[in-house]
């Protein structure tokens, strides 16, 4: 209960701070954000878009690890966890894609222009889509679990290739090279605090949703088992 209240208040503060704090050229007090050259108010998306993309990747990795666990133990609970993580990851992936596309319309002038980041999130969406298409076409439970685990492992292993391939083909306009050129974190402290709070908040929301879905799926599964008996 305490967890939910803290999370609710925390995320409300993040949303208010992220949207309402003024952006000034030389921030003097703690309640002012610096102006990001070239982005201005559009830079505020970092508080909402980056955490969704982060959760999307976390969920993908979680689904992969649960898939491996399933193959090792053949415990159906791991399959339930794997598919739950994947479905939540898919939701956050769509959120990240949509927020990114809207931002891109106002910054780059088009909803979609095959920037490397857009290409990689598109691939992630495709993998999730293919994963669910595969699951829905297999009826036997154990077979479905092991085949989808195998597929997600193979798909997960092709993802690192994009890191090598995409820079060879196109260069990125994505603002992390602009906000953060040295690859080190040297954001304004207020901005960094809100960003971290948002990241934690979104991750906590994901974990909470994951927990709820797992409890629900367990009950559903037990019910199914009873009906079969």
């Amino acid at each position: 209960m305490v967890f939910k209240i803290v999370l609710g208040i925390g995320l409300t503060l993040v949303i208010i701070a992220g949207i309402a704090l003024p952006m000034v050229p030389n921030p003097s007090s703690f309640f002012e954000l610096p102006v990001v050259p070239g982005l201005e108010d559009k830079a505020r998306i970092i508080f909402f878009h980056v955490p969704t993309a982060w959760v999307c990747v976390i969920a993908f990795i979680a689904s992969l690890i649960y898939g491996i666990q399933y193959l090792r133990t053949k415990e159906i609970l791991y399959d339930i966890k794997s598919v739950t993580a994947a479905s939540l990851g898919f939701l956050f992936c769509i959120l990240a894609t949509v927020t990114g596309a809207i931002w891109s319309k106002f910054t780059w002038g088009a909803f979609w222009n095959w920037d490397p980041r857009q290409t990689s999130i598109f691939v992630l969406l495709l993998i999730y889509g293919a994963y669910f298409a595969l699951r829905s076409s297999i009826e036997v439970e154990e077979k479905r679990a092991s085949l989808s685990a195998v597929y997600s492992i193979i798909a997960g292993l092709t993802v690192p290739f994009f890191i090598f391939i995409i820079p060879r083909i196109v260069s990125s306009l994505h603002p992390d090279p602009i906000i953060n050129p040295q690859g080190k974190i040297h954001m304004n402290p207020t901005m960094f605090l809100i960003f971290l709070a948002s990241l934690t908040g979104f991750t906590a929301v994901y974990l909470w949703m994951f927990n709820l879905r797992i409890r629900f799926s367990k009950i559903q599964y037990q019910q199914q088992m009873k009906e079969q008996e």
Partner: protein, 226 residues
């Protein structure tokens, strides 16, 4: 037990598939017709226009991707349909079966790609290869990578209900890195880039093949055993 797989048994499985293919010519006939039809559609669509280097390099690999998708789909499905899966389970280890099938797909895809590429060069006059060594190496490495990925996906879809439709859907995200790099390297072959500059692309293709084959070898047991 120490052996990873038995080369002789893998070759036997390859020869078995090859013989049954020669007898029915299912994949070969269908593939040749598929390639010809696709190229004819492209020629009608292009008409008198001269496609740019980017477009003609892309179209070549689109043709190869979709013909591979229609040809490789039956690799394991045919075993399920003919009811020979159990026999294969009895006579050989999963890894042996995997490598036998991989070899067969590799040869089939090789023959098909040689046919496609020759036809493509003849029919599309603007497709002029400036650097032949880059182009040949790209086609060879692309074929090897394509067959490795399509073999394991073919094993996965053989157990599902919607076999044919699911195959390209599952394969595309896996094959996308390979397709991106082979299209890029075909483009540099058409532009006549120096060989040394294309080395990085070939390294990625080789790495792709090694990773996919190693993972397929490790995971094939889970796919194959019921």
């Amino acid at each position: 037990m120490n052996k990873i797989f038995n080369i002789n048994s893998a070759l036997t499985i390859f020869i078995k598939d090859f013989r049954s293919e020669l007898r029915t010519r299912y994949a070969l006939n269908a593939l040749i017709m598929f390639v010809i039809t696709t190229l004819a559609i492209i020629l009608f669509a292009v008409a008198n226009e001269t496609p740019s280097i980017e477009i003609s390099a892309g179209i070549l690999w689109i043709v190869i991707f979709f013909s591979a998708m229609s040809g490789m789909a039956r690799t394991f499905v045919s075993e399920e349909e003919r009811g020979t899966v159990m026999t294969l389970h009895l006579i050989a280890k999963p890894s042996t079966i995997f490598f036998g099938k991989l070899l067969f797909n590799l040869i089939l895809l090789f023959l098909m790609n040689i046919f496609t590429v020759v036809l493509y060069i003849i029919l599309i006059p603007s497709f002029i290869v400036q650097n032949a060594s880059i182009f040949i190496l790209t086609v060879v490495l692309g074929t090897i990578g394509l067959s490795a990925a399509s073999t394991i996906i073919a094993a996965i879809i053989a157990k599902s209900n919607t076999k044919g439709t699911l195959y390209p859907v599952l394969s595309f995200p896996i094959l996308l890195p390979l397709l991106m790099i082979v299209i890029k390297s075909t483009k540099s072959a058409l532009e006549g880039v120096e060989f040394a500059k294309a080395m990085g692309d070939f390294q990625v293709m080789i790495a792709y093949f090694v990773v996919i084959t190693a993972v397929s070898y490790l995971l094939f047991d889970y796919v194959w055993k019921d």
